[in-house]
């Protein structure tokens, strides 16, 4: 059984998407295309207050004046907005009180994802807000969270139940005019998650949301808003996977994090959307705007494991506004076949003694392109700002690409900025060494890759780390015969 680096690379290209299936739930969907009428339709469907409709329409007006960005190191056919369905909701809109009431088919979907709800509830105590297409269909652990005054619900529900909080914070970190896709999201978002942790409360469990694109041709425009009030702490998990599709699906989410004084938000993502087949047909376009703001002594930590999507464009960022605030970004991005990822972070240092850490691990296989793009910006008043960045790239084949674009803008001479970067090829020597110790090639690769990503995986909550490792294995395993 010969196994050279090239054969290995070839095997990796044969890796078919494991979670490709479509759940058959009748949808209640809007006609394709984008117009003011569609936006009014969405807003009316969701029984939204006037201010929110106005917010949407204003975002739409802004969006019309913008053009799609082209600076990222990715190439794709721009989605035709008039062919996208901007709203689709499962017919059954009644809320579930307990998991027993949840549609069996939906449970089946979750099982295929390897995250049976029962299991999750029992083993991990994770409260899950599961988004199937655009409407949240289930929310759990609500009562327990209620006792502590924690709000964790779908975005639509928050609009109805806590309009003052939503209105106060929405759009304050990512303004509607921020970028093309953020503006689009602001105009047409259908649902997402909302989370509020009151002053001084430590959220006792990981809050988790599984997103899933389910309806062919439906763009998903989630909106997530997490507000951690003074002195509070929350760890938030977001994971997703999508069914196999031949046409490209657009996904443009906006995530806003607000960490008030002394608060801490840990936001972890495992992203596993359909990446397209091995010829590069189909797959999700994932254009996400994620940003958090830190007040004094606050901390925001982004951790992401990105294995899916045909095209990814994503820069979870931190605005370190308050003195002594801390921003962290830990990322593993895997690309295979024809996948393209342009991902990284922005650390904007405004306050004094602000600190940021960036650890980025790119893994490219097949003919994929994997780019790190990072900006560290030290403003005039950010005395004693510190940044440490480490960007490593691991190549699995001769045909893939890894690129690093670190940008530094420093306007305060007391700043200390360190940047390290490495590029390496997965070693035939390492694989041989493992094999000589009785470890087969798939296990060897998984071992080596997990070792390479260790600093990032260590940041994830235990149960999520296990899932992430499984994903890395699936994304990179070959069919050794």
């Amino acid at each position: 059984m010969a196994y050279t680096e090239n054969e290995l690379a070839k095997d990796l290209e044969n890796q078919e998407y494991k979670f490709g299936f479509v759940t058959d739930i009748e949808s209640d969907k809007a006609p394709n295309g984008l117009s003011e009428d569609i936006i009014r339709f969405i807003s009316a469907k969701k029984k939204e207050p006037e201010w929110l409709l106005d917010h949407r329409l204003q975002a739409f007006a802004t969006w019309k004046t913008m053009t799609e960005p082209s600076w990222a190191h990715v190439h794709y056919t721009k989605p035709n907005m008039q062919e996208i369905c901007f709203y689709s909701a499962p017919k059954q809109t009644k809320k579930y009180e307990s998991w027993d009431d949840v549609d069996p088919e939906m449970k089946e979907t979750m099982k295929k994802l390897g995250i049976s709800m029962e299991e999750q509830k029992r083993l991990t105590g994770v409260a899950v807000d599961f988004v199937m297409d655009s409407v949240s269909v289930a929310t759990s652990f609500k009562s327990k969270l209620n006792e502590l005054g924690i709000i964790f619900c779908s975005f639509s529900e928050a609009v109805q139940e806590h309009p003052e909080l939503v209105r106060k914070h929405m759009g304050t970190v990512v303004p509607t005019s921020d970028n093309f896709y953020a503006a689009l999201n602001s105009a047409v978002f259908t649902d997402g998650s909302f989370c509020y942790i009151p002053k001084g409360v430590r959220c006792p469990m990981e809050l988790s949301t599984y997103f899933r694109i389910n309806e062919g041709g439906t763009g998903q425009f989630e909106r997530t808003l997490v507000v951690a009030d003074e002195g509070s702490f929350v760890s938030y998990l977001e994971g997703c996977t999508a069914p196999q599709r031949d046409e490209n699906q657009l996904h443009a989410a906006v995530v806003e994090l607000i960490a008030l004084e002394n608060a801490e938000i840990k936001y972890s993502t495992v992203q596993n959307w359909y990446p397209g087949n091995k010829e590069g047909i189909g797959g999700i376009f994932n254009f996400v705007t994620k940003r958090g703001i830190c007040e004094r002594n606050a901390k925001i930590s982004w951790t992401q494991v990105e294995t899916g999507s045909a095209v990814t464009w994503k820069y979870p960022s931190c605005i370190l506004k308050g003195d002594n605030s801390v921003g962290e970004f830990y990322s593993v991005a895997v690309t295979n076949n024809y996948q393209q990822a342009d991902t990284g972070t922005k650390m904007i240092h405004l306050g004094k003694n602000t600190k940021s850490t960036i650890i980025s691990k790119g893994i490219s296989a097949g003919k994929s392109q994997n780019s790190y793009r990072g900006l560290v910006q030290i403003h005039k008043n950010a005395t004693n700002a510190r940044n440490f960045s480490q960007c490593d790239s691991l190549l699995m084949s001769d045909e893939c690409g890894a690129h690093t674009f670190p940008y530094i803008e420093c306007k305060n001479s007391s700043a200390k900025i360190e940047h390290e970067a490495t590029t390496s090829k997965i070693g035939e020597d390492q694989i041989f060494y493992c094999q000589q110790r009785g470890i087969n090639i798939e296990k060897a690769i998984s071992l080596i890759v997990n070792g390479y990503c260790k600093e990032v995986l260590n940041q994830l909550p235990m149960e999520f780390a296990v899932e992430a490792q499984k994903l890395l294995e699936i994304s990179l395993e070959g069919s050794v015969g």
Binding site: Y3, D429, Q436, I448, N450, G451, Y452
Partner: protein, 251 residues
Amino acid sequence: MIKISNLHASIDGKEILKGLNLEVKAGEIHAIMGPNGAGKSTLASVLAGREEYEITEGTVDFDGQDLLELSTEDRAREGLFLAFQYPIEIPGVSNINFLRTSLNEIRDYKGEEQISAKDFLARVKEKSALVELDSKLASRSVNEGFSGGEKKRNEIFQMAMLEPKLAILDETDSGLDIDALRIVANGVNKLKSDKNATIVITHYQRLLDHIIPDFVHVLYDGRIVKSGTKELALELEEKGYDWIKAEVETH
């Protein structure tokens, strides 16, 4: 244990092993010496199953099995162990994790149960003591940042953990200080039994003061050109390889 007959192997079209014969029986220790570039490491790699080499002729019988038919990992699982001349670093993977994975893969192959955490740790403790390996090294990333000598000692530690039938030590003595040399040799001697065998590749006769070989072979230009006992190593130390080369040329 192992019988190598008329083995020819080449890499990138260049023949390195040119009809090599060697038989090692259970309970024996064989030393292989020979000038740089003779093909000693190549022999070790070929036996271990490195894919880059093309076997053009010859057979290798390993305990009744056709070794060359086995995959690299199955050779290891059948009990063939190679202590690398240049041990490989695997960042982020702890020695412990690596060894546990290795041990369990081998047990799985043999239809045995996975080793329990308790038994595993007991074994780590016992074997690291045997080769006097600093217990901190056991939990560090595989060979990463290890000194040259520590890497070699770690190879012997792994050998002790896996208890192979046939161990091939490729210049495990080079880079070791006097004490480490004695420790490594002790380790090898203690693991010696009538059921296993060892092939020691070395340039220095001093290792053979500690590990007493039953046979000493000279590998030159891809062949075993001379075999003898411990005295041959002494003779080589004294006279170098020129006389052997001359002998080979006149034949």
